[in-house]
Symmetry: C2
Amino acid sequence: MAIRYPNGKKYSAPVNRSNPNKKETFGNRGMTLEEDLNDTNEYYLSRGIAVIHKKPTPLQIVQVDYPKRSAAVIKEAYFKQASTTDYNGVYRGRHIDFEAKETRNKTSFPLQNFHLHQIEHMKQVLDQQGICFIILRFTLLDEIYYLNAHHLIEYYEKQKDGRKSIPKAEIAQLGFLIEQEYHPRIDYLKVVDQLFFQK
Amino acid sequence: MAIRYPNGKKYSAPVNRSNPNKKETFGNRGMTLEEDLNDTNEYYLSRGIAVIHKKPTPLQIVQVDYPKRSAAVIKEAYFKQASTTDYNGVYRGRHIDFEAKETRNKTSFPLQNFHLHQIEHMKQVLDQQGICFIILRFTLLDEIYYLNAHHLIEYYEKQKDGRKSIPKAEIAQLGFLIEQEYHPRIDYLKVVDQLFFQK
């Protein structure tokens, strides 16, 4: 069952969104990127490695009923566009902030996956010396990359020059391929360690 | 219009929740604590001081309609208990994480305002060297205090000894009274500066 955002993009509850067409790997057995990241974050949390959570989907609540002796029921609400990234938390004293997106495109990552509010937010986080990045999955290739936010910001702002996507080759060059494993599935903190804690 | 959480606590949209009975001060002209904090965080954000946001209210979405050529409408959803604190972000490279609560009680702050998940979360954030605290408003006295999370955790765990609240006198002693002003209304980062950046 698909839920459409105001912008027409689909929203699906993780449980409803397995994708049997994907090839079998450790990291990806028909799981969505969100499921894999939630699993990874639970792994980090349960082992005291990091405290990183996905933010709830922002909704505009319009009407609510209050049945006697039972929980309130929201009868009318709408999806709101998030003004920040989806994931944040704390790791070894540093603030972690990132957005995760998937594409079925094989050669480049469309910038339309990100909106201006998120780009502005990433700039603000970087200005406060937070660690800010994006995690990109090329679904059909089953490849996941870590890319620091300042690269995304650059490409986003170059859009006016006409290029509406980031070529995969440049993501591979500027970013880091994340090996998918069983547990944790997407060990993105391994990249964070290399970049921010081993200098 | 009041919305009841599963636990029976009231939820109100900030706009519906002015409280004309409160006495007039700079910080508090019938505003809720949430409104004052959102205003304060906007102040911090607009001036590049800090990037701190309130998390959206977590909801369990059950049913959604998709009218043609218009936005998806959520027809059935329920409030979920938050597993983290309401506010977090980044300030001068440090991770900021806090919860804000109000009481009409004049002599002590009832611990029932916090639930186990939030206490566990605060411990986890402190373990990762995040800056974690609570902001408490005594509504009828119009006094707002900053209290570091480790104090709350102590009192929360002492509940089994029978005391279900934190005496106001001890909050005043262990915490910090936040002067309410016009802009920003609740300048809690002033306390954070004293405690974490002026050593």
